[in-house]
């Protein structure tokens, strides 16, 4: 398995947590994984990008046109990070509007669950539902349980399942 994934959003949206969950699944499966993340000033509401490379890679950065999958938490970032995606790469987008890619109003679903920040795992659920990321449901839930603070585990798992169950 060799896959390159980008996660794009703005500081405070849970991009880092989603990045860690995906990487943790790879570690649990004993597959090499590398991520790169945005920390520092940009975390104050600015555009943040994570890259995830699963499989036999040496460095964490993704070159233009090499990402298989993009998880887009903040739709306005699409033109910023579009060039990283392969020509046949797929976006999973948090959006209430029609357009390209796999779209879902994850923010609204997350609000109904009680917290807009849960939209990150809803997008993961959608990606797993569509087979865009080769993880099992159980693998993802195990990683969420490992990484989420105890009192938020149930909420996070619920968000992931909401994503899976979307029609």
């Amino acid at each position: 398995m060799k896959q390159q994934i980008i996660v794009s959003g703005i500081g405070g949206q849970g991009v880092l947590f989603l990045t860690r969950v995906i990487a943790q699944v790879a570690v649990n499966r004993n597959i090499p994984v590398l991520t790169s993340e945005t920390h520092g000033m940009a975390q104050r509401g600015g555009t943040v990008l994570s890259t995830i490379k699963i499989g036999d890679f040496a460095g964490p950065l993704i070159r233009t046109g090499q990402a298989d999958l993009g998880l887009l938490l903040w739709e306005a970032n699409q033109p910023v990070h579009q060039t990283l995606l392969k020509s046949d790469g797929i976006w999973v987008i948090n959006s209430d509007k029609a357009g390209d890619g796999v779209r879902i109003d994850a923010a609204e679903i997350a609000r109904q669950l009680g917290n807009a920040v849960l939209l990150n795992l809803i997008l993961l659920g959608v990606a797993v539902r569509d087979g865009l990321i080769d993880f099992t449901i159980e693998e993802c839930e195990t990683a969420i349980q490992q990484l989420a603070p105890a009192k938020f585990v149930a909420q996070n798992v619920a968000a992931f399942r909401k994503g899976l169950e979307q029609p």
Binding site: I10, Q24, V27, T35, S36, E37, G40, G59, R63, T83
Partner: protein, 608 residues
């Protein structure tokens, strides 16, 4: 420890590696991208099998000196900082090269090519070349961790401080990292007095310098630290690639993607200084053309002095910015005469960062700008640099510079005889302790007439909330003595000192005007206003303050004052209706925007 392979960030891997190596004193000042290294040690302190002192020092110079003396006792220590932190610690760092250490000492300096979150992209490896300090350049989080124990051994063998230089893409990269059991060294502090070394006067320094030079010659040929060759298949004769750090990792992936793995001789330089002269000679003999890829300055290239070298000196490799896989692809394609990859798509700007909704700094900056629209606003390093978005930050230079720059502005304007502009300096609480205090004493002594606003949010916010000296808490939550800001300000000779919550904008603005009167009266001088409100990232602060649902009435005239001059990210413009709207996902209901609206359209929603 339940698993022996964990997903660790580079900084966490380094922190864990220090514990495994038996480091007993770790000191740091936070700074992106280095911060999580000490945090990782704090989080894992219970994994250490021997006593381990961990501290967030007041600045990098102090962190270095604390770790240094610990190494004099024979124990292993570490000082951790970001690249510009080494400038602050430069004085002890340079002398340490001559005097050396006893127990192993590492200085971990995280560089930020790009830069992503720094005031420059200086290269610590070049600093080490000047300081004559061996420096190690790891290519991945796992390698950074694996090199810590051998680096300590090298430090102890030659009694020298050794630098480990990760870069942002190592620090903030995650990887599967294997853990080992922390070793037990059973060292007891045993400082052997030797004033001719530890207090060396100039008379003793030529001998120490000579000894350093001899050690460096030996280190350069240490077998474990030699460049590692992956031989090519001779399809590219008399040609080689030389790389270090994360650039090496990027290059390995690129060669793989291009089907060129094993096609050309490839060297990874682990220790860019001191470089083995024999290696340099060998490269000159074996190759007509070499491409040198390194971040950020041509440190390896300078030492190689290869006549066929392509790199930063001849402009083959960009001299500034990060060597991303895209940049390397361009350079490699030109060097190996491959198909041109096409231009790198121009970087498009995403959402700019801004102060958080409810950030007390926003309220303070708005009031400052409102009271003194023509003022000069020197500011400093921290979240509050973002006061730039509100037009209330005119200069940002380096830690603690704002007070001295404010004083310098005053001295320059004053000598022209005309009325001087109001100079309002903003400095965070952590920065004030780091290097603001000497600057404040200097401003008072030199009779500078400036207003200093200390933005006290009770934490080191930008780097994730490390403790500050006035809170009475040390690393890991340990209780300690609190050093209050007010007595320090008073003892510095400041005669106008007031404290105010900037959420109370009316009082805050009254005090700013009083401060302006103070600096302008006959016997006036420095005025200090402490702007005090906890960082809104702290859940306890959010919980403790009133939260009301904010709404915007249809009387909004679309003047954009709340989204522009006040720049709250929870307020956006509806471009169709030309009115402001509240993003309820982001609004924290602080109500600080209410007074900003000129027509009173921002209101608290009636709870009924």
């Amino acid at each position: 420890m339940d698993t022996q392979i964990q997903l660790l960030m580079g900084n966490e891997a380094i922190g864990r590696g220090l514990i495994e190596a038996g480091c007993q004193v770790a000191a740091a000042y936070p700074g992106t991208p280095s911060t999580e290294i000490l945090q990782a040690i704090i989080d894992r302190q219970n994994q250490a099998v021997e006593p381990l002192h961990v501290e967030w020092s007041v600045n990098e110079k102090i962190a270095f000196e604390v770790a240094l003396a610990a190494a004099y006792t024979g124990k292993r220590s570490v000082a951790v900082m970001k690249q510009v932190g080494l400038n602050v610690a430069a004085d002890p760092f340079m002398r340490t090269a001559y005097l050396g250490v006893k127990g192993g000492m590492l200085t971990i300096v995280a560089d930020d090519p790009g830069p992503h979150s720094s005031q420059n992209e200086q290269d610590t490896r070049l600093f080490c070349l000047q300081g004559r300090v061996p420096v190690i350049d790891p290519a991945s989080p796992a390698e950074a961790k694996a090199l810590i124990e051998p680096a300590y051994q090298l430090s102890e063998k030659y009694e020298l401080n050794i630098v480990l230089r990760p870069t942002t893409r190592i620090c903030h990269s995650r990887q599967n990292v294997s853990l080992a059991a922390p070793q037990i060294l059973e060292r007891r502090s045993a400082f052997e007095k030797n004033p001719t070394r530890w207090a060396a006067t100039p008379a003793f320094l030529p001998a120490l310098h000579r000894s350093l030079n001899e050690k460096l010659e030996k280190i350069a040929v240490e077998p474990d630290w030699q460049p590692r060759l992956t031989p090519g298949d001779t399809s590219q004769p008399r040609t080689a690639l030389v790389a270090s750090g994360i650039v090496y990792a990027n290059l390995v992936d690129l060669l793989d993607e291009l089907g060129l793995t094993g096609a050309v001789d490839l060297y990874q330089v682990l220790m860019p200084y001191p470089l083995n002269p024999e290696f340099c000679r060998e490269l000159r003999e074996k190759y007509d053309r070499i491409l040198v890829l390194e971040e950020t300055y041509p440190v390896i290239e300078l030492q190689l002095a290869h006549p066929g070298a392509r790199g930063k000196q001849d402009g083959t490799v960009p001299r500034e910015g990060e060597l991303t896989p895209d940049v390397i692809h361009q350079v490699l394609a030109a060097f190996l005469d491959l198909e041109h990859p096409g231009e790198i798509p121009g970087a498009r700007r995403g959402q700019r960062p801004s102060l958080c909704p409810g950030c007390p700094h926003r309220s303070a900056f708005y009031s400052i700008k409102k009271c003194f629209p023509k003022g000069i606003f020197p500011s400093d390093i921290g979240c509050y640099t973002l006061g730039m978005n509100l037009g209330a930050v005119s200069t940002v230079h380096c830690m603690g510079a704002c007070i001295s720059q404010g004083a310098g502005f005053y001295q320059s304007y004053r000598q022209d005889g005309a009325d001087f502009p109001t100079i309002v300096v903003t400095i965070g609480d952590s920065t004030f302790f780091h290097s603001g205090i000497p600057a404040l004493v200097n401003a008072v002594v030199q009779q500078a007439r400036i207003i200093v606003v200390i933005l006290d949010n009770a934490t080191t916010a930008m780097t994730g909330g490390q403790p500050v000296p006035h809170m009475g808490v040390a690393a890991g939550g340990r209780k300690t003595k609190a050093i209050a800001i007010e007595p320090l300000v008073k003892a510095s000779g400041v005669e106008f000192l007031e404290t105010c919550d900037p959420y109370n904008h009316e009082r805050f603005e009254t005090l700013l005007k009083q401060a302006n009167n103070h600096i302008r009266k006959n016997d006036g001088g420095v005025a200090v206003l402490i702007s005090r409100h906890g960082c809104i990232m702290d859940p306890a602060v959010r919980k403790a303050q009133e939260r009301t649902r904010i709404t915007i009435l249809d009387t909004c005239i679309g003047c954009e004052k709340c989204t522009g001059a006040f720049e709250c990210p929870a307020l956006t413009m509806d471009r169709e209706k030309e009115v402001a709207v509240v993003d309820q996902d982001r609004c924290i209901g602080c109500g600080t925007c209410i007074h900003v609206c000129p027509v009173g359209a921002i209101v608290k929603e009636d709870p009924a």
